[in-house]
Homo-oligomer: 461 residues x 2
């Protein structure tokens, strides 16, 4: 209780500080120095978003992933205007914050790509591929051609396409984190789900490319879809195959300029941003490029880079103590694996800074007014049911494992679903109502999976 009271005290204190400083700012800063004032205010808004993202992180205490809390707190901040509080309205109009959010998604997909691994994708093999394909095709068809037109009749075909597309992609991040939290990452069910989620992500990104192009160009033809599909596959496969050759060469070469972690980090970011730009250039979403960049960049390409700090630490330990050969070997291999993983650890702080901005901002764009609309709420519940049933049937398309666990492991939608919704909204295809429906679906699938998985796994024992 004391804990909770303090949280309220800190939150209210912080909100009070924002309101007070806004009042001062509107008189002094804005009047005085235009540009410098805007920059400093943007610093404050970034701090505000990160602060509330962390308050949202409290949902982890009740077993939910942090991304859910960031969305929910965003929804709250974005709808304070309904009760007359307009303190946070400037965030939604700030072009720099909007850019930082978009850079955040690119960094997130780069990160997901880095965590994925072409080798792992091959190992999980056929069952993962079947689960992925069924789990993408079924919800897409159900969403686009069945429940979409049935529950929300009279809309443009493009809107149904985006609805179907947003139902496809399982969130790798959420899925992995749920299994990790339950300590079940090494079970065959978890392996299949993780493998399928990776393939699923690639399929989802291709669907996004196809759907985006259909919407942008306005017409649908088999040849056009074929060309876009070919272009998307060519870009992904091409960048992966070429990248396998170019990345180690560039890694080896740039290691000659500097071998520090700064160079390693910068190469990763340059790869991610250039491929994001190239993807946009050929008509794909930038996140597709960032994901491909992440897939290309395997830690092994950076074996030429050493982390001087960790190496120094280990040398110190070995020097200061009587160490037998076994221990020395074990420590060296731990350091080896640590520095391999370091490539992901390096991107992490940048993700800490930028990714919550995307999710809080996405939450802020949800209009709660639409939720007071009972028909929309009912539609959202029905769409959520379809989202769950589609993935459950995908689980039932294979044998030899607990198919309920596989199916529910695929249920959480997250980043990618929201990105679909945001892009659809940006293109003017998805209405505010359908945007709200998709966000509710993402929140509910994310919310429903952890407790159900928990129950299924415990029942299995």
């Amino acid at each position: 209780m004391k804990h909770k009271k303090r949280l309220w005290a800190y939150s209210l204190g912080f909100i009070g500080f924002i309101v007070a400083s806004q009042a001062i700012a509107s008189e002094e800063v804005t009047a005085e120095a235009g540009h410098a004032g805007t920059v400093a205010l943007t610093f404050l808004w970034i701090a505000v978003i990160l602060f509330f993202a962390k308050i949202g992180g409290l949902v982890e205490k009740i077993g939910q992933p942090a991304v859910l809390g960031e969305l929910v707190i965003g929804v709250l901040l974005g709808n304070l205007a309904l009760i007359g509080i307009h303190t946070f309205d400037p965030i939604l109009e700030n072009a720099i914050i909007k850019f930082l959010a978009e850079l955040g998604v690119v960094i997130l997909l780069l990160q997901i790509g880095l965590e994925s691994n072409i080798g792992e994708m091959k190992k999980v093999g056929l069952p993962a591929f079947i689960v992925a394909v069924v789990g993408v095709v079924l919800p897409f068809i159900l969403g686009t051609y069945v429940v979409g037109p049935w529950l929300m009749p009279g809309l443009d075909m493009n809107a149904y396409l985006f609805l179907g597309a947003s139902l496809t992609a399982t969130s790798v991040g959420i899925t992995a984190r749920v299994f990790k939290d339950l300590g079940k990452l090494q079970t065959p069910e978890a392996q299949i789900v993780l493998g399928a989620a990776v393939i699923d992500d690639v399929l989802g990104l291709i669907i996004l490319a196809v759907v985006s192009a259909i919407v942008t160009i306005g017409a649908v033809s088999a040849g056009m879809i074929g060309w876009i599909l070919a272009k998307a596959i060519l870009f992904l496969v091409g960048s992966i195959i070429l990248g396998q050759f170019i990345a180690p060469m560039l890694g080896k070469f740039f290691a000659k300029i500097q071998t520090g972690i700064g160079m390693k980090f910068t190469l990763i970011i340059i790869f991610g941003l250039v491929l994001a730009y190239m993807a946009q250039l050929i008509g794909l979403a930038p996140i597709v490029g960032a994901f491909a960049a992440g897939l290309i960049l395997d830690p092994v390409h950076f074996r030429y880079f050493k982390d001087p700090k960790i190496v120094a630490d280990v040398k110190q330990v070995l020097k200061n103590s009587e160490t037998n050969d076994e221990t020395a070997k074990a420590i060296n291999s731990a350091i080896e694996s640590h520095s391999r993983r370091h490539i992901e650890d390096l991107i992490e702080p940048v993700a800490f800074l930028l990714v919550p901005i995307f999710f809080v901002l996405t939450g802020m764009e949800v209009s709660l007014e639409a939720l007071f609309n009972v028909p929309i709420l009912l539609v959202a519940l029905a769409i959520t049911a379809v989202a769950i049933i589609g993935k459950l049937l995908a689980g039932y398309s294979i044998r030899g494992v607990n198919r309920n666990i596989v199916g529910f492991g695929m249920v959480p939608r997250g980043e990618v679903g929201l990105i679909f919704a945001a892009i659809g909204k940006g293109l003017g295809v998805i209405s505010e109502e359908m945007f709200s429906v998709i966000v509710i679906m993402v929140i509910l699938t994310t919310l429903v999976a952890p407790p159900v998985l928990n129950w299924l796994i415990k029942r299995q024992k």
Copy 2:
């Protein structure tokens, strides 16, 4: 030779890619999707800046700090227009890149603050304080009242004030890195220089506050200077003293929400950004606030946070090997010191991303046309001589150590000098010519110090 040829091949290839993609972009992307195209182009520009920053990092091969290379490559990119290449001109007009650069300086000063330590400042004591004060006062007076009016007569008094101010602050980063590269961090000379550089930084920031206020308000009065000085000292000392109480409380409290490195990182960033905003709110530069935030945030306030990855690594090592108690202890203490330092390691990747943007952009703002002006070049050389002499005399104000090493250790100007120049230019006080003079002075003092220090230290043996 092969190495150099490949570098040219990669650089030319990358430039070719930029030019080609620009050509495509101007036809396709821009025409098609305005906002998305602009965002993707900004991704490309960030990648371009980071790429060339790393090419600039090649100066490390000839014993120069990377910051120098970033400046020089910026100067080159910014002046390609002189030979008809306008490819990189859009970077200087991009408001988002400009914001990222300004966020970069804030992150840098937060980082410098984190590396500094109130305890260390006390230890180096009197000699460091004397060197700092003489090394700030002498160049400031020489610049503002002697060489400024003498070499560039007829300018506004405010311009001389900014020139004098930009001559004061030794670059902590460059100084520390020079001694570190030479393996001389533990000598008394290095200790005094490092201590003095920290005090010097605080003095420089106060001078910046005073000078900025004088320029902004337009009038100079002893009472006003006193009030600004009091406000600056009150803000710094107040935030440091209050921060000592509040930071551990907040650290302890937020550790209850999450104990991961994400929370640790986010708290540091929130502190830095909020204090940067508050500094701006009371009329100081945002970087003053960021520096104060860094000073407040000592690793000890984050003892409630553990890095689960490193802890798991160590447990694994200890489990897999026959380890005696001595070794286990040594490893644990190495991990302990590693996780204490982790607070700085977490900010580093964000600095890798944003800080080079500031330095490359600063270099790009240097007009080489001004350098073809022989009088300006001569003035720059004279100002550089004053910058060096001022710090050498500071070295001679103490006894018992090699005073030439202390003096030359204080010579490199860097970040802070450039920030002064950039702010002065932003306020319209510093002309393009004087901006170029200051940048040349920064480049030359940075360039001159490493070889001279190297020579002095070797002669000492």
